[in-house]
Symmetry: C2
Subunit: 359 residues, 2 copies
């Protein structure tokens, strides 16, 4: 097992990475005080719920499992309200611990439930997808979607621990694994050119689920992310750079009704679009944009967004959370590994990128 720390003063917490960790009682024990709820979905529950429940019980917890439907569409208020019903029905108090067992949707949903249930209870993230292990389980972002936009309602609520068991990636579909790779590539493209080089050498190993390659990937992404979160917990600066691909990406997800595109797929296409926009603006050399597109393609991920009306793209991007003073802000690239936040991008260039999507 490897452990690293997210340095946030008295709210610092460990990320444990290894195989077979989800069933180890001693990793939960420091963070439970009587009652725990495991929030998971109907795909993950048959695979891992009993192991996690057993570990929590061994750690001394009374366990309430709460199972929601799989998929991004469950990340809404209706699901959340059923979770509150379950938590209140089991009489879980402010001293309870919520365990988020699943991918990014479960982490966001259960994390937000923990953030607002009785004004906030303890949270442990047990991510079971590559996307959640490399990105969404670390850093305390939680949210649900609103009909008008993704992740519009949420909170910053740091977990007490992240338990990343790479053995759970064995049961991931190829499509989900690739979707996770989109966030892996994003970490490199936004912050670390050398890691992009490593991925270009090793992407086949990751796709083949070579355990050593997976552990290296999860640890390296968590290191990058932990540093960014420690510097800028509430995303007033550098943390926004990790939203590379997310302005276009969220528009893709919302514009297609949250479902047909996995989040990682939308981020992949959005990242290629952001690179193309950077190139059109003369910020990024065109060969670098092509290099990004080629890596995304080798990961088996989409390099183009869907065909949406121009007005719909702009409408959906206009409510992005990064915006300030009513102006859309894009994460652009000056080089591979060097992202920057920019407002006031000439709409013509955005339109050119949009026009090249679909088909």
């Amino acid at each position: 097992m490897e452990s690293l720390s997210v340095a946030l003063g008295s709210r610092s917490y460990p990320i444990h990475i290894g195989t077979g960790l989800a069933e180890r009682a001693e990793l939960y024990a420091p963070h439970v005080r009587g009652a725990a709820a495991v929030i998971t979905n109907d795909v993950v529950a048959p695979l891992y719920l009993e192991r996690v429940r057993h570990a929590l019980e061994s750690a001394g917890a009374r366990v309430t499992p709460l199972v929601v439907q799989d998929g991004e569409r469950a990340k809404n208020w209706q699901t959340l309200d059923r979770l509150f019903e379950g938590l209140l029905g089991a009489r879980l108090g402010r001293d309870a611990t919520i365990v988020a067992l699943g991918g990014g949707v479960i982490g966001d949903l259960a994390g937000f439930a923990a953030a607002v249930y009785q004004r906030g209870v303890a949270l442990i993230q047990v991510p079971t997808t590559l996307l959640a292990q490399v990105d969404s389980s670390v850093g305390g972002k939680t949210a649900i979607n609103h009909a008008r936009g993704k992740n519009m309602i949420g909170a910053f609520h740091q977990p007490l621990a992240v338990i990343s068991d790479v053995a759970t990636l064995d049961t991931l579909s190829d499509r989900e694994l690739r979707a996770g790779l989109a966030e892996v590539i994003k970490h490199g493209v936004a912050l670390d050119e050398r890691f992009v080089g490593w991925l270009e050498q090793n992407i086949e190993r990751v796709l083949a689920r070579d355990r050593e390659a997976l552990i290296y990937t999860v640890r390296h992404c968590c290191e990058l992310k932990a540093r960014v979160v420690a510097d800028d917990e509430r995303e007033s600066g550098v943390r926004a750079l990790l939203n590379l691909g997310h302005t276009f990406g969220h528009a893709i997800e919302a514009g297609t009704g949250f479902g047909p595109w996995l989040h990682g797929e939308a981020v992949a296409a959005g990242m290629v679009m952001a690179a193309q926009l950077s190139a059109r603006l003369g910020l990024l050399p065109a060969p670098d944009a092509q290099r990004i597109g080629a890596l995304v393609e080798r990961a088996g991920l989409p390099t183009h967004g869907p065909q949406l009306a121009r007005e719909q793209w702009h409408e959906l991007m206009a409510i992005d959370k990064k915006n300030a003073g009513g102006r859309v802000r894009f994460v652009l690239l000056e080089a591979i590994g060097r992202a920057k936040l920019q407002a006031g991008v000439d709409e013509r260039f955005v339109d050119e990128v949009i026009a090249a999507q679909g088909g």
Copy 2:
């Protein structure tokens, strides 16, 4: 104008108390950066919305007013979702400021909206009821109700400023004024015996809305509360004492379906019940319990709860947020001005108090 500060390090904020403050642009100006939404209700809007809007516009803000129905029943997810719809429809970004203009319900609801909209935006509290000015607008507690219990879903989200304009109390109904007095009396009974003495001398002046008496009352309660919040922002200790009367009180509100009893009325009866329980337990001298009942009665507030089934009382109290390890915790009194938190109260004594209600 008098100003005091809630000392919370970098998140410290001022409470301004005086007459005519709601319309003073310079009190808003430091806290708005472009866009603001005023969340208020259909009773307060005709009285004060235009003044506040004008002040915000003078401070340079683009203002979006959002008006909800008056009353505790509006403090739910449905109302909140409509607010998000309005905020997103007006394209308010993370740099927007939400202004809560109204009583405790509006402060809780708009405060929670500010806590979770785009993971948190700036908040200014402009309380227009005595209850909100002496209690709920200070300290950052925000929440909505769940069918299974009051304030079960919420967040701690401190405002950037509290603007308490006692002139707005002129338009308050007598019933609302008295409901606010319940929280005033609670501050004294829980924390400050001398203030109880002052109230016994001056309660008629407060009921007659003598401005000097109102300003003294608001300032003194805010001083008491600011100190408690600075010591224990997240209610892990002393802050829980300000929930005196709220265990029984929340049960009264939930048990009667949120509406017939104003929050302050339920707290008044709940506080008398807590005093009676303390006396039955031999903790508080019986004459002190009677003294509390007498002051509550002089304020024109109920000294008895409604007749609910014994099981319903226990069921409703069992989900109180103060509970720990599945045990109900009561705020009890050792003396007037000296409250304490106690778990493991013998149910027989609780039953005796419950049995004496109604009629």
